[in-house]
Symmetry: C2
Subunit: 167 residues, 2 copies
């Protein structure tokens, strides 16, 4: 969501789950517009369409941004691990010139490779913790659709219910 109340939508790369959780991980640049958008509205919905199986998954969840200087040692570690897992080409993007500024000279996009063990301050880990999943299967006659909801009664436990619903 943009701070002006209009939605924002983009493609992002799924970077595996936070270990031992259902939280999805993404790599985000602190200079991107996502940061102020998440500060304004910490909810997002992912939409995944698998063209081979013709399935759509919609995952609504709460967003957590893990920045440099994170207090929680597990999250701080997860940020470091994700940085290490990125390719050199992935890491160097965080040293590129300021996003959305007028296009810089090509040389500015070839800075020295960042240290693979030391995340740049621009690098953030973004987590999405799903509370609703809408799963649509276009194959089949008729289509199939299931709605998964996570109980909000006790946030320390993950209790999910599922219902077959009309597409």
């Amino acid at each position: 969501m943009r701070p002006d109340g209009r939605p924002a939508n983009r493609t992002i790369v799924f970077r595996d789950y936070l270990p031992d959780t259902n939280q999805l991980q993404f790599a985000v640049d602190r200079r991107s517009l996502k940061i102020e958008q998440i500060a304004h509205q910490p909810w997002g919905e992912l939409c995944w369409y698998f063209s081979d199986t013709r399935e759509q998954f919609r995952l609504l969840g709460q967003l957590t941004l893990v920045q440099e200087g994170q207090d929680d040692p597990l999250l701080d570690k997860a940020r470091q691990v994700l940085w290490q897992k990125l390719s050199d080409a992935g890491r160097v993007q965080f040293s590129w010139p300021e996003p959305r500024e007028p296009r810089a000279e090509n040389e500015a996009f070839h800075p020295p490779a960042p240290d693979p063990n030391m995340p740049l301050p621009q690098f953030c880990l973004l987590l999405l913790d799903p509370v609703e999943v809408d799963h649509l299967e276009l194959r089949g006659d008729p289509q199939n659709r299931w709605w998964y909801g996570r109980s909000q009664d006790d946030p320390t436990q993950e209790i999910w219910s599922v219902q077959a619903i009309n597409p």
Copy 2:
């Protein structure tokens, strides 16, 4: 956008442009959650990723819903034409049981084929009229990105500007 302020995200099928305009057309069921979401916030952003060319297009625009009984004869006609262009399998979905209710029996999904010349009241045409386009080309070293903005000074004319920006 959901009325509670959280975003909503789904895959939709592009159904060509409204003739002689830059407005994108989509087929929507009046019983779907989109309807109340659009009533609450008539802005949306489309995100298109082309995996072969590794290009992303983000199109922010205003949404217009064209329902049965539309006063504007051009829009009423466009709704009728889109209905006619749908396949039988596409049209019959508008006669399916109420979306999101507990799953109905299979027989309920095989009603008689609707009249191809007479749109069902459930059938709506949705238009998105872009005002901003963010075009990212991942191919190339470095990546390329362009931002297109439509002047809001005179809404009767489409005056666009473009700027090459940092990815």
